[in-house]
Amino acid sequence: MKVCEAVIDDIKQIARDTMQVHLKVEANILQTIKPGQFVHIQVNNGTEHMLRRPISVANIDQERQLLTIVFKVFGQGTAKLAAYEAEQSINLLIPCGQGYPIEELQIKKALLIGGGIGVPPLYYLARQLAKKNIEIISVLGFQTQADVFYQQDFEAFGQCFVTTMDGSYGYKGVVTDVIKQEHLLFDYYFSCGPTAMLRAVQTELTNYPGYISLEERMGCGIGACYACVVPSKDQATYKKICQDGPVFRANEVSI
């Protein structure tokens, strides 16, 4: 893990309140990053915001030495990040946490299930899976049409279903509805999104091996402050999301 000042190559809005940023990062750092890992971003200098913001790695372009993040403007910190301009630099801890352990798995057909700002990390995952010639189906859930992004990018890898809560685009309903309706077949699933969605996924897909990526409010982002814990399945211990996660086996944690 490193502290790194990354210059913004470009920053643009790609959906409602949703920003995509390309950051220039040294190749030797980029090489080490696994899908599912995150960067811990300083909002700005000074003392107004003492906590960093965790944002997942959405993609890596080794050739152009770019790291992509996609984030939603939610509160004050992300609003300030959204106001950055190209050529300015932001301070990252990179990389943080454990990614999806795809090297260790024998996968033929992967189901990617993303909700809202849980979609971006799955994109980098999809690219890495595709490199290994793994078949990919994706189900992406959003609130409403204005929120949808990356559909075409996922379609490039295989079947891609988009749902919106209000039915304004694609299927109406939640991601688990689509999975049931479409009788999707797969051997591993990988999911990232709001806790409510992950809980539904965990329950519905209890017979499949899968990985979920969790969110929690963080202090240090590196395992030193015990802010970001989640109980293990048996409730006997806590795992640290920033260090042991954010990716966990679906049956490992109690959410």
Binding site: V3, R217, I222, G223, A224, C225, A227, V229, Y238
Partner: protein, 305 residues
């Protein structure tokens, strides 16, 4: 180059900078950013008699120039700390200060006694001021007679000097400081966090699962400085100061107020290199304000001189 060393009971410090308890775990994570031997000392996460899971999440919230935390003393218990955490710290050339917590006087005593079997610690920081646990903790820090009693008992059970960590959530900090001094404390560490709350407007309930949490960071620095300034005039034992430090100027402000050394908590989260950077920049900062050494600055904000 200015002399950065400070000698305190049990602590021979290369420099006056140490990470604050609870913000640095047991050092492993930050050891990836710099060599821990650079540090003046390390204050490790609170130890209780048995393993504690701590509070439900969310455990932290951001506030203006600060943060709230309600970790709730999650720790593997004193025995596990001795066996699994301290050996790692012993590989560095840095004094370790063990933060001792508990819900009862007996638990505090027990933790201190358990620590007797390790050579790995140079001092104890007696945490009578944690606002984030249901029982114990904070009461000991707000009532002079209780503070004195737990100090005396822990002091008697310990093989190393005992620094008592004071709570700022009191009407009269001087009274508590004097009580623990009389009870045998070798030093004071101050301040712990102020009790605060943030409400989640959408959920219409306190944001932290524990409802209240401890406020730390630059927001509380003026309160820390005031309390250290007042206590310095009223006691003869050394003070390790903390509360909102983010720069060398802050360190010098704490020294002037009367701290002999300082701890850095929240700022580690914003910049994991902060302790190392401040240590590096300190000689230059001392020079800027015409101090020959760290010792030369201690207490110099009181009257002219």
């Amino acid at each position: 180059m200015s002399d950065l060393t400070v000698q305190l009971p049990g602590l021979d410090l290369k420099n006056p900078i140490m990470p604050a308890s609870g913000c640095f775990s047991f050092g492993r994570e930050y050891s990836k950013f710099y060599c821990l031997s650079q540090l003046g000392a390390i204050m490790i996460k609170a130890a209780t008699a048995d393993k504690r899971l701590g509070n439900a999440t969310p455990r932290v919230a951001e506030t203006h120039a600060g943060m709230l935390n309600a970790i709730g003393l999650q720790n593997p218990g004193v025995e596990a700390i001795i066996d699994h955490e301290l050996p790692f710290l012993q590989t560095f050339d840095v004094p370790v200060i063990a933060n001792v917590a508990g819900s009862t006087i007996e638990e505090y005593e027990g933790v201190a006694r358990a620590l007797k079997r390790t050579e790995a610690i140079s001092a104890i920081e007696l945490n009578i001021s944690c606002p984030n646990v249901k029982e114990g903790g904070v009461q000991f820090g707000t009532r002079p007679e209780l503070a004195a009693e737990v100090t005396q008992r822990v002091k008697a059970a310990s093989h190393v000097p005992v620094y008592v960590k004071l709570s700022p959530n009191v009407t009269d900090i001087v009274e508590i400081a004097q009580a623990v001094e009389q009870a045998g404390a070798d030093g004071l560490t101050m301040i712990n966090t102020l009790t605060g709350m943030k409400i989640d407007l959408k959920k219409r309930q306190p944001l932290l699962a524990n409802q209240v949490g401890g406020l730390s960071g630059p927001a509380i620095k003026p309160i820390a400085i005031r309390m250290i300034y007042q206590v310095y005039q009223a006691v003869d034992i050394p003070i390790i100061g903390m509360g909102g430090i983010t720069s060398t100027d802050d360190v010098i402000e704490f020294l002037l107020a009367g701290a002999s050394a300082v701890a850095i908590g929240t700022a580690n989260f914003k910049n994991p290199l902060i302790c190392s950077e401040i240590i590096e920049q300190l000689p230059q900062a001392l020079q800027k304000y015409h101090f020959a050494s760290v010792k030369d600055a201690i207490g110099k904000g009181h009257g002219h001189g």
